[in-house]
C-alpha cells in the first residue's frame, strides 16, 4: 500500500469518526432539548379529560337530571330564597328534565368540570373565560340584574381613594400601592384589575399589595390611617353601606358610565355572569333553555321574595377574553394572585428557555450543517485529490517503467557492438566446427567419435548464442514491473556474462566478491540488471585512460534488513560537486549520453525500497552501491521466469 493510500484511509476514518461523533452529539442534543421542552410544554399539551357520556346514562331515568353548577362563595343547600329560584322554577317547568343547582366554590367547580359532572355552568365572566378554554364551555345567556327598574348586564368595579389623595388619579397610578379589597367576589375583582394593569405594562410582577377587608365600615378608617391607598369593591357596594357624608370623602378613580348601570360610579365594567353549557350538551336542549330563560322577565311574578336574576342575550366576552389571553387556568381563589404570578413567571421563564433552546438548536443545527458541508466538501476534495494522486502515481509508475525501458533500449544500443561480438563468438565457433567436420568427411577421414564430439560442441555453441539472444530479448522487453524473489548473486553473474565482451575489449579485470548464502530479495530482475549494467558501463567508461583497469563487484548483507551490492572501479573518482548532482536527470560528464542513466537507476532502486549512492574510494576510484530490502519469504517462492 502506498503512503497516500494510507493517508487516505486515515483521513477517511477520522472523517467518519467525526461524523459519527457529530451524529451522536446531535442526537443527544435533540433528545435533551426535546425532553426539556416537553418538561415545560407538557402542561400545555396535557391530554384532554377523559370523556364520559353522562348524558346517555341519565337518559335511562324517567326524568333526566340536569345539573347546573353555580359559583358560590359559600355552599348552599337549596335555591329557596335565592335570586336563582325563579330561574330554576322556569327550567323545571320543562317536562323531561329535572334541573338541580350545585353551589360550588371555584375549585370545586373546576374539579366538577374536569369530571364532566356539570351540564351547565353559571359563574363570573372571568372564571368563565378560563373554563371556556379549558373545558370547551359555550356561553348561552348573560345574567341580568334589575336595579330600580333597569336591567344590568355588566358588573362594575369601583376603585376608591381618599378625595384629598392626589397621588392616584388613574388606575395606572395604583402601581406600588397598598390596596384593600371588599366583596365576596374580591378575587374576581382583583383578577380583572391585575390583568388590566398587566396588559398596560404597569406591572410585570405583583408590586401592588392587596389585602381583603372583612368589615365594610372599616374601609374608610383604613384608608384614612394610611393602611390602604385605595379600596376596590363591587360597584355600588360602598355606597350601599356607607353614609352619604363618608362617601364625599372618597373619590372614584377612572369613573365609567355604564349605560345600563344603575350606579354611575364604576372604575371598570365587565360583563355579567354567563350561563354556559358543557361541551356534551346538545344544541336542542340548549336552545330550549335559552328560549325559556329569555322569556323569563315577561313572566314577572311577585311571588318571589328576593330580587331575582334574569337572563339576557349573551354578552360579548371578546374584550375580556383578550385580557386573559395568557391565562390558562384560574387557580384556587385564595392563591389567585400568587398562582397567576407564578404561572406568568413560569410561563415566561419556560418561554424564554424554549426560545433560547430553539435559538441554540437552530444555531447548532446551522453550525453543524455548515460543519457538515465543510467536512463533506473537504472530504470530496480530499477524495478527488487522492484519486488524482493515485492516478498520478500510477502514471508515474508507468512512466518510470517506460523510461526504464527506453533507457534499456539506449543501453542496448550503446552495447550493440559488444553484443555483436558476444554473439559472433559462438557463431564463429559453430561455423568453424561445422566446416571442420565437412572437410574431414570429404577427405574420407571418418573418425566418427571425433566428429560427434565436435558436433556436440557445436550444439553447445548454438545454445550459447541462443542464451545471448534470450537475455537480450528479456532485457529490452517492455512491460510492467514484475517483481520476483531473486538471488542477487545470480543477477550479478548474469550481468557479468552479458558484459563479458565489453569488459574484455576494454581489458578490464573484473573481480567478483560475492557473499554466499544471501537471502533473496524481491526485485524486478530485468530492472536490477539494468541498474547493474549501467553501473558497470559507467565504471568501464570512467577508466578508459587508466592502466590496468579493475572492477570489483561485491555483494554482502549490510544489516538485518538490507543486502548491499557495490561496483568499485579504479578510475579517477568523482569530484565533490559532481557527487552531489550525479543522480540528477540530464547530468552527465560524458560527451555522449543523455545523463539519464543514473537518474533512472536511482528511481528504479527507490521503487524497490532501496537506495543508490555513490562515494569515492579511499585509495582510488569510485564506488556505487545499491541496497535492496531482504524479503522474509522463503526462497521456495523464487520465480526465475
Amino acid at each position: 500500500m502506498t503512503v497516500t493510500q494510507k493517508k487516505f484511509r486515515f483521513v477517511t476514518n477520522r472523517v467518519l469518526t467525526n461524523l459519527g461523533i457529530l451524529f451522536w452529539l446531535k442526537a443527544s442534543v435533540f433528545f435533551f432539548i426535546f425532553s426539556l421542552s416537553s418538561l415545560f410544554t407538557l402542561p400545555l399539551y396535557a391530554e384532554p379529560p377523559s370523556i364520559e357520556i353522562n348524558f346517555q346514562q341519565k337518559a335511562g331515568s324517567k326524568k333526566q337530571t340536569i345539573i347546573i353548577g353555580i359559583l358560590s362563595k359559600a355552599p348552599q343547600d337549596s335555591i329557596k330564597n335565592t335570586p336563582w329560584q325563579f330561574s330554576f322554577d322556569r327550567l323545571n317547568s320543562l317536562p323531561k328534565y329535572h334541573f338541580i343547582p350545585r353551589f360550588l366554590s371555584k375549585e370545586q367547580l373546576n374539579n366538577a368540570l374536569l369530571n364532566d359532572e356539570l351540564d351547565f355552568v353559571i359563574c363570573d365572566a372571568i372564571n368563565y373565560i378560563a373554563f371556556e378554554k379549558k373545558y370547551g364551555l359555550l356561553h348561552l345567556l348573560t345574567r341580568t340584574e334589575y336595579y330600580a327598574e333597569s336591567s344590568v348586564t355588566s358588573e362594575g368595579l369601583s376603585v376608591h381613594t381618599l378625595s384629598n389623595n392626589s397621588d392616584i388619579t388613574r388606575l395606572l397610578d395604583l402601581k406600588d400601592k397598598n390596596i384593600g379589597i371588599i366583596d365576596e367576589n374580591s378575587s374576581m375583582s382583583w383578577l380583572f384589575l391585575e390583568k388590566f394593569l398587566f396588559k398596560h405594562g404597569l406591572i410585570a410582577n405583583t408590586n401592588i399589595t392587596t389585602s381583603p377587608i372583612t368589615d365594610m365600615h372599616q374601609s374608610l378608617s383604613l384608608l384614612k390611617n394610611g393602611t390602604f391607598d385605595a379600596i376596590i369593591s363591587k360597584s355600588g357596594l360602598l355606597k350601599k353601606y356607607l353614609a352619604q357624608e363618608n362617601m364625599e370623602n372618597l373619590r372614584l378613580i377612572n369613573p365609567r358610565h355604564g349605560w345600563q348601570a344603575p350606579f354611575l360610579h364604576s372604575s371598570v365594567l365587565i360583563p355579567e355572569w354567563p350561563l354556559s353549557k358543557a361541551w356534551f350538551i346538545d344544541n336542542q336542549l340548549a336552545s330550549q333553555i335559552v328560549s325559556l330563560l329569555l322569556n323569563q322577565h315577561t313572566d314577572n311574578s311577585s311571588s318571589y321574595y328576593l330580587p331575582q336574576y334574569y337572563w339576557n342575550i349573551a354578552q360579548n366576552y371578546t374584550a375580556l377574553n383578550k385580557l386573559f389571553v395568557f391565562s390558562d387556568a384560574i387557580d384556587d381563589n385564595s392563591n389567585a394572585q400568587k398562582s397567576s404570578l407564578t404561572q406568568k413567571i413560569q410561563y415566561w421563564v419556560s418561554f424564554i428557555i424554549i426560545c433560547i433552546l430553539v435559538a441554540i438548536l437552530f444555531m447548532y443545527l446551522r453550525s453543524s450543517r455548515d460543519l457538515n458541508n465543510r467536512l463533506t466538501a473537504s472530504k470530496e476534495s480530499l477524495e478527488q485529490e487522492i484519486k488524482e494522486r493515485q492516478h498520478a502515481q500510477e502514471q508515474a509508475l508507468t512512466h518510470q517503467a517506460e523510461l526504464a525501458h527506453v533507457a534499456r533500449l539506449s543501453t542496448m544500443g550503446e552495447m550493440a557492438s559488444g553484443l555483436a561480438h558476444e554473439l559472433n563468438q559462438p557463431l564463429s565457433a559453430i561455423h568453424t566446427y561445422v566446416q571442420g567436420c565437412i572437410r574431414r568427411i570429404n577427405m574420407g577421414n571418418t573418425d566418427l567419435d571425433a566428429i560427434v564430439n565436435a558436433l556436440k560442441l557445436t550444439a553447445q555453441q548454438a545454445d550459447r548464442a541462443g542464451g545471448i539472444i534470450r537475455r537480450l530479448r528479456s532485457f529490452v522487453r517492455k512491460g510492467e514491473s514484475h517483481k520476483t524473489y531473486s538471488e542477487i548473486n545470480q543477477i550479478v553473474n548474469e550481468v557479468t556474462g552479458f558484459l563479458e565482451s565489453q569488459l574484455k575489449s576494454k581489458q578490464v579485470l573484473l573481480t567478483l566478491d560475492l557473499e554466499e548464502d544471501l537471502p533473496p530479495v524481491l526485485a524486478d530482475i530485468i530492472q536490477i540488471e539494468q541498474v547493474l549494467i549501467n553501473l558497470l558501463k559507467n565504471a568501464i567508461e570512467s577508466m578508459f585512460d587508466i592502466e590496468k583497469p579493475t572492477i570489483i563487484i561485491s555483494t554482502r548483507r549490510s544489516d538485518q534488513k538490507f543486502i548491499e551490492l557495490c561496483v568499485i572501479d579504479s578510475g579517477h573518482g568523482i569530484s565533490e560537486d559532481k557527487l552531489k548532482r550525479i543522480f540528477n536527470p540530464f547530468f552527465t560528464t560524458k560527451t555522449s549520453g543523455m545523463g539519464m542513466g543514473l537518474s533512472i537507476s536511482s528511481s528504479i532502486v527507490e521503487a524497490h525500497d532501496g537506495k543508490l549512492y555513490a562515494e569515492n574510494n579511499p585509495q582510488q576510484g569510485a564506488r556505487f552501491c545499491l541496497t535492496l530490502p531482504i524479503t522474509e519469504e522463503q526462497p521456495g517462492n523464487i520465480d526465475n521466469e
Partner: protein
C-alpha cells in the same frame, strides 16, 4: 614444407579456439592452442609454423603481442582474427608486418589458405635463413685478398685487369680466385654471382 610446422592458435574464447583447431587439424596440420598471448610467448620455442591470434584479449592484446614478438626477433607469420575489426586496426596490424587480417566468423577456406600461405612463407623464410647463414659463413671464411678478388670477379673483370688493379701477378690472382671459388662453393662464376647477389640483398656484404 616442413612437417615440423605448427599452427599456434591464441584466443581467449575456448570455443573459438577449439573450433579453429578442429578446422585446421582437418587438413592435417599440427595445432597448439593458447588462451592468451602471455602463455604463448612463454611457451614458444622457435618452432616453425604460423600464428592465428585474436586481436582483443584480456591481458596482453594481439597488437601488443605483435610488438613484443618483433622485439624478440620472432618472424612467425601472424594471422589476426577478430570479431569486431575495423579498417584502422587492420591497417595498423598489417603495417607492423601482420601476415593477414581475417574477420570472424571467417570463411574456412580463407583461413586455411592464409594458414597455408603463412606456413609456406615461414618455410621459405626458414630456408633462406639457412642459406644466408651458409653464405655468411662462406664469405667470412675468405681472406681479405680473396674477398677483393671475389668482388672484382662478380663485377665481370678478367684476371689480367684484376692483377693490374691489385698490383699482383696474374698467377697470384689465379691462385686466389681458385681458393675463393672453392670456399664459396661456387662451381661457376654465374653461381658465385647468384650467391653474392643473395648476400648483398641480405646485407651480408655491402
Amino acid at each position: 614444407m616442413s612437417n615440423d610446422a605448427i599452427v599456434f592458435i591464441v584466443d581467449d574464447d575456448e570455443a573459438v579456439r577449439q573450433s579453429t583447431a578442429w578446422l585446421i587439424e582437418s587438413i592435417g596440420l599440427k595445432v597448439t592452442t593458447f588462451c592468451c598471448a602471455d602463455e604463448f610467448l612463454e611457451n614458444y620455442n622457435n618452432e616453425p609454423g604460423c600464428i592465428v591470434m585474436d586481436v582483443r584479449m584480456p591481458g596482453m592484446s594481439g597488437l601488443e603481442a605483435q610488438e613484443e614478438m618483433k622485439n624478440r626477433g620472432m618472424s612467425l607469420p601472424l594471422i589476426f582474427i577478430t570479431g569486431h575489426g575495423d579498417v584502422p586496426m587492420a591497417v595498423r596490424a598489417l603495417k607492423r608486418g601482420a601476415f593477414d587480417f581475417i574477420e570472424k566468423p571467417f570463411n574456412d577456406q580463407l583461413l586455411l589458405d592464409a594458414v597455408q600461405r603463412g606456413l609456406k612463407d615461414n618455410n621459405e623464410a626458414m630456408e633462406s635463413l639457412v642459406q644466408n647463414e651458409s653464405i655468411t659463413k662462406r664469405i667470412s671464411s675468405l681472406t681479405p685478398r680473396e674477398h677483393e678478388v671475389m668482388m672484382r670477379v662478380t663485377e665481370g673483370k678478367p684476371n689480367k685487369v684484376i692483377a693490374h688493379e691489385l698490383n699482383v701477378s696474374i698467377k697470384t690472382v689465379e691462385v686466389h680466385r681458385a681458393r675463393m671459388m672453392e670456399k664459396m662453393e661456387a662451381g661457376s662464376v654465374a653461381q658465385l654471382v647468384k650467391t653474392t647477389i643473395q648476400a648483398s640483398r641480405n646485407n651480408i656484404i655491402p
